[in-house]
């Protein structure tokens, strides 16, 4: 290791670092409050730390090549164990500073690029690592510097940090490690087995450990480290979905059909002709047009995002894109649903080891943007929600949509086919990700998870994707899967589950020497795909890989007897029958209890609410779960590929809310668009998870219908993020939610084609108390828009046009945004499914096909008041809403404004078509748009709201509004 003696470093400053320095300081003050008040600027300097000595000529070359003299200042200095802090003394005098550099082995694209640049300049064999210096003002107390650094500037899991002294990059140890440990399990008592599972972080249940012990007893040997780790990965919740496959009984003894079976049975019953593949592959596959099918998958990456937000979210996106590559489709769009704790959480109230929500949000958003933007896949749809329950366990749902040739058939792997890995080299990154993500978290999670954090490399994945598409079109592979959780062990394990395989890991490309065989087998290094290839096609495949600068390695071949034999340099490290690996896990037995319904904490004073209707509408509009998140979305490239015709923000000023994304792929000639809508409500699950699920399906469906998708060809995805299902009440809510999903899917005739669950999203505090996330279900709807030239959007188009409300408003205020704003649980009912919704969606769609609908917007979070305001904002028009005597009691006014009943849609129509549209959709005219920029609500000729459109706009943008909206 180059840790002693001199270390050359190139330091690069920007000539106008001032603004960035002030912004960073402001983030620190926002995060830490008054104590950080003295922090006025934090100036960053880029550092390139070089392992090897660089001579004068080399330094001059690099300086000239890497520094733009017009905008940057570059300095070479020597960091010496004994030397004074480097850099220009003037800056440094008495100024506290922090230097941060990635730990050895953590992927460092900047350092790698530095090495490449050096090679390009003829300076062979220079190894660079990147670093950053953060320079504070001279008068800032060292204690404050440390607080800011810990809160904002480094993360122990991936970074090394140095205070007021030059950091010295450490380079990965070259010591080799080929040890294979044998883990004694035979003869262990049940108690000792539990202890073994805990100490190795296997996250296996006692009965599962017993099954492992008994199996190895039966073959009269103990497992190797590689074998026991592989079993833990293969049997993990993450990989085997043991809860969704479990035998569940209610406390009263009634038996529940396994959850996965329920979802599949619902899909089978619907028997939708457009479904090509549901629940079996890496992604669901449905028909798009005569030429293309759609592949779609949504994944969670919660635990990694909690400990290292950027890397966790970054590799979450990379992983779900590989799921789509794993069914040989070209990725064309990404979605993201993000759940954070409240941004105003006091930093000193955070549990030990938990990052502040602002830090988590900034890192997660940057991580999502980095992967999608760099890989060149538009991020087209998403949502951001905030709740106290997400503070310790933030959630990241990343989705990917792909296209593949209609009717594509992969012939499937055969004995003798080669097992080939494409893409990134293998390092120590992401060891034990699957078991990590299947365990609950506590204060030590960050430390033990160190090796579980992966950093993505979107450029490599882009090259792999391009190579795969070429290889697919030439029919060069017979089967394919991605290296996700569990690395080779699960990818090869899956693809060889029935045939078995002979694998030799020696040929696998490595980032650096020193990996133990079991680490090589388990590593979750990113950007790797595993293919089955006929021996005769290897040459052609390697040619394609060369063209795309993609690494390719032949790992071995398929057997015919189901045995998986893995060698490393000839030594056997795994020798297991596939049927034990894949069917040997005892079915999980779980008990569910009916959840206790929480007692209401207050009551809604209808008269008071009506008296302050305008203020409350503004407050609801500015609620973090309702307000515009355009500031986040503008950081995502949603235009690349030129296919995004339905955007996340649109309207007269490009800033109104889109209902759902519409993508019209350039490679398709059918003129169709595919629509992606999302439904979720994480405020109502604690009250009634079944109705929450019904409402979420209804919302997702309405979102795609609102942009013009055909309600008779919608496909659904379910993603559950839940607490520990071994807690009966938690499981009870999960059982309820699955029932709700199935009922609503059947009602709409919209089959589930894929799903994923992330359970155990709980944090155990030092005192043993558990914090669970609220039950969180994300429903993704995929719809087909018959004519992508005629999408419908939510922004109001013309003054005088009539506003029609379709669907019934019931008193469903529990878990509403109104309650959140009032700070109470006012009791009552949460929104559920709407029986008449499927029929109404069909009527709305035919009205759209007939060109009767000028704009459409679904009514969901916040209620009708919000939905009407959003249409007006999008079109920069005023709107006047009037209800008659039917809505005269204060209670019914509150419902009309704020109830979140499902099944409702707002439609804009030119006056002369109003009657026809009402007749066909069963809607009623509730008002009209105006060219006077005001939002006016009258009930029974009583004005209850009269506000400036701009006040609503400011509130919706999260700014405090001037007016109070009262007439």
């Amino acid at each position: 290791m180059a840790t002693t003696g001199q270390q050359w470093r190139l330091e690069i400053d920007s000539i106008d670092s001032g603004a960035a320095a002030r912004r960073l300081a402001e983030r620190a003050r926002r995060l830490l409050g008054p104590i950080a008040h003295p922090v006025r600027s934090i100036t960053t300097t880029s550092l390139y730390l070089v392992a090897e000595p660089v001579d004068q000529a080399g330094r001059a070359l690099l300086l000239q090549a890497l520094v733009d003299p017009a905008t940057q200042r570059g300095t070479w200095t020597v960091a010496d164990a004994t030397a004074p802090p480097p850099g220009r003394a003037a800056d440094r005098d008495n100024c506290p500073f922090v230097e941060v550099s990635l730990r050895p082995g953590v992927t460092d694209p900047v350092g790698d690029a530095f090495s490449r640049a050096a090679a390009l300049l003829g300076l062979r064999g220079l190894t660079g690592r990147s670093g950053t210096r953060f320079l504070f003002d001279a008068d800032v107390d060292p204690h404050v510097v440390r607080l800011v650094a810990d809160a904002l500037l480094h993360n122990d899991i991936v970074d090394e940090v140095s205070f007021d002294a030059p950091i010295r990059a450490r380079f990965v140890s070259l010591s080799t490690n080929d040890s294979v440990e044998v883990v004694a399990v035979r003869g262990l008592s049940d108690q000792e087995l539990v202890e073994l599972s805990r100490s190795r972080g296997l996250a296996l249940d006692p009965v599962e450990m017993i099954a492992v012990r008994d199996f190895f007893a039966s073959i009269e040997r103990d497992p190797t480290d590689a074998e026991i780790e592989m079993i833990a990965q293969t049997w993990s919740e993450h990989c085997s979905h043991k809860t969704f496959r479990a035998q569940i009984t209610w406390g009263d003894g009634t038996v529940v059909e396994p959850l996965l079976t329920q979802l599949r049975r619902s899909t089978d019953a619907i028997a939708a002709p457009w479904v090509r593949s549901a629940f079996v592959d890496n992604a669901g596959i449905v028909a798009f047009d005569e030429s293309f099918d759609i592949a779609v998958k949504v994944e969670t990456h919660n635990h990694p995002s909690a400990v290292e937000p950027f890397g966790g979210a970054n590799t979450g996106v990379g992983g779900v894109i590989r799921d789509v590559l794993g069914v040989a489709a070209d990725p064309i769009a990404v979605t993201d649903v993000l759940c954070f704790g409240p941004m105003d959480t006091p930093i000193d109230s955070l549990p030990v080891g938990v990052l502040h929500p602002q830090r988590v949000r900034d890192g997660v958003v940057a991580g999502v943007a980095d992967y999608g933007n760099k890989m060149g896949i538009p991020t087209v749809a998403g949502a951001v929600v905030h709740q106290e329950g997400f503070t310790s366990n933030p959630l990241v749902f990343a989705g990917c949509i792909g296209l593949r040739p209609a009717g594509l058939v992969l012939t499937g792997q055969e004995p003798g086919d080669r097992i080939v890995v494409l893409g990134g080299a293998t390092g120590r990154d992401g060891i034990r990700g699957a078991t990590f993500s299947s365990a609950t978290m506590d204060a030590s999670t960050g430390d033990v998870a160190g090796a579980s954090v992966q950093i993505g490399d979107p450029i490599t994945e882009k090259l792999v994707a391009d190579a795969l598409v070429d290889a697919r079109d030439l029919g060069l592979f017979t089967a394919i899967t991605d290296c996700g959780a569990g690395g080779f062990s699960s990818a090869v394990g899956e693809i060889a589950a029935t045939l078995g395989a002979d694998v030799e890991l020696a040929s696998a490309p490595r980032k650096y020497p020193g990996l133990a065989p079991w680490e090589l087998w388990l590593s979750e290094a990113q950007e790797r795909m595993v293919l089955a290839v006929r021996p005769g096609n290897l040459e052609a495949l390697s040619t394609i890989c060369r063209e795309h600068s993609v690494a390719m390695a032949d790992l071995g071949s398929f057997r015919d007897d189901g045995r998986l034999v893995v060698r490393c340099d000839g030594r056997v490290i795994v020798d297991l029958p596939g049927e034990f690996l894949h069917e040997g896990r005892p079915i999980r037995q779980l008990v569910a209890e009916r959840p206790q319904e929480p007692m209401p904490t207050g009551r809604r004073d209808a008269a008071q609410i009506v008296a302050h209707a305008g203020e409350l509408l503004l407050a609801v509009l500015s609620h973090p779960d309702v307000r515009s998140n355009e500031d986040i979305v503008r950081g995502f490239d949603h235009e690349i590929l030129g296919a995004t015709v339905g955007r996340p923000f649109l309207g007269a000023e490009d800033d109104g809310p889109g209902n759902a994304a519409v993508i019209a792929p350039l490679q398709s000639t059918s003129g169709r668009g595919l629509s992606v809508g999302i439904g979720m409500n994480c405020r109502t699950g604690v009250f009634d998870a079944r109705r929450m699920a019904e409402a979420s399906v209804d919302e997702a469906v309405r979102n795609v219908v609102a942009v013009g998708a055909d309600p008779e060809q919608i496909s659904l995805l379910d993603n559950f993020s839940w607490g520990d299902p071994r807690r009966p009440e938690m499981l009870g809510r999960l059982v309820d939610a699955v029932a709700g999903c199935c009922d609503s899917a059947n009602a709409f005739g919209a089959p589930f084609v894929s799903g994923k669950d992330s359970l155990n999203n709980e944090y155990v505090a030092a005192d043993g108390t558990r914090r669970s996330i609220p039950p969180t279900l994300v429903i993704t709807a995929i719809g087909i828009v018959p004519d992508a030239d005629r999408i419908v959007t939510s922004d109001a188009k013309g003054p005088e046009n009539a506003l029609i409300l379709v669907g019934h408003t019931r008193s469903e205020l529990r878990g509403s945004v109104l309650d959140a704003v009032l700070g109470i649980d006012g009791g009552g009912v949460v929104p559920g499914g709407a029986p008449d919704s499927p029929m109404r969606m069909r009527a709305i769609h035919s009205a759209m096909v007939n060109g009767l609908v000028q704009s459409a917007h679904d009514v969901s979070d916040g209620g009708l008041g919000v939905a009407v305001a959003e249409m007006a904002i999008g079109g920069r028009l005023g709107v006047s809403v009037a209800f008659g005597t039917a809505v005269s009691s204060p209670e019914s006014v509150v419902d009309a404004l704020f109830s979140e009943s499902s099944g409702r849609m707002l439609l804009e129509v030119v006056p002369e078509h109003g009657e026809e549209l009402c007749a066909t959709t069963g809607g009623v005219v509730i008002g009209h748009f105006t060219d006077e920029a005001r939002i006016v609500w009258r009930i029974d000729d009583q004005g209850i709201i009269d506000m400036d459109l701009d006040d609503a706009l400011q509130a919706w943008r999260g700014h405090v509004a001037e007016g109070n909206g009262q007439p």
């Binding site: 690029a113 490399d457 450029i459 015709v645």
Partner: protein
């Protein structure tokens, strides 16, 4: 001449090459993908092309600064050939990261810095064509064109003289997304053959791509830039 041959140059991380190829074929060119690492080894590949486009993306992840590493490759191994290519009257276009590469390699003047607010931004902008322009890519285009930007390092910096002499595209009032000096969005070289711009004309080549087309707004396609480049090549025969 039928369908002029247009090289679409890409480095690892270039990701708008397909969009550019689509735009070029709509404009009557015959796009050919050309990895930069191949082109720097065989610069003679330029000879059978009539035009070259450096497409956008994140070459080498922009790890050393936007376009820095690819710009270094071009500067060291391709700049003479490219200058000869231009001198022979054949146009070169650099979009977004391609613009950054042309600037870093010295084929275009000025510098591109981080956006003034320090953030990547994706939004639609309106570009005005500077009246008196010698640039073959913008000649014949009257009236503003709309297209999206998607970049984090697009703030154009140069002396007023350079900007005055070389700017051919300007962000319309209020649409400057990155703090570029004098709203400069695209600059040409002394010959008028080379154009570099941050916005993405390749993403507004059909009407429905415009965000307000569904509101009945009809704006000029940014495809006209490619049309002009192709027209020039065809005229040159």
């Amino acid at each position: 001449m039928t369908r002029p041959r247009a090289l679409v140059v890409s480095a690892p991380g270039t990701n708008r090459d397909n969009d550019v190829a689509y735009a070029l074929s709509l404009s009557g060119a015959d796009p050919v993908r050309m990895p930069l690492h191949v082109l720097v080894r065989r610069p003679q590949r330029l000879l059978d092309a009539q035009m070259v486009v450096f497409a956008g993306g994140f070459s080498h992840a922009d790890a050393l600064g936007a376009g820095a590493l690819a710009g270094l490759e071009v500067e060291r191994s391709l700049s003479d050939e490219l200058r000869a290519f231009v001198a022979s009257g054949r146009p070169v276009l650099g979009i977004c990261n391609g613009f950054q590469i042309l600037v870093r390699s010295g084929l275009l003047p000025g510098s591109l810095m981080h956006n003034i607010d320090g953030r990547f931004v994706c939004r639609w902008v309106t570009l005005e064509v500077v009246g008196t322009t010698p640039c073959v890519w913008t000649s014949g285009i009257d009236g503003p064109i709309d297209c999206p930007v998607a970049h984090g390092e697009g703030r154009y910096i140069a002396s007023d003289e350079v900007i005055g002499a070389h700017t051919v595209l300007r962000y319309a009032d209020g649409t400057n997304p990155n703090g570029s000096m004098l709203d400069s969005a695209g600059v040409t070289d002394a010959t008028g053959m080379v154009l570099g711009l941050m916005p993405h004309p390749e993403n507004h080549v059909v009407d429905r791509q415009h965000p307000r087309w569904h509101r009945g707004e009809h704006r000029n396609l940014a495809r006209s830039l490619f049309d002009s480049g192709v027209a020039h090549v065809k005229a040159a025969g």
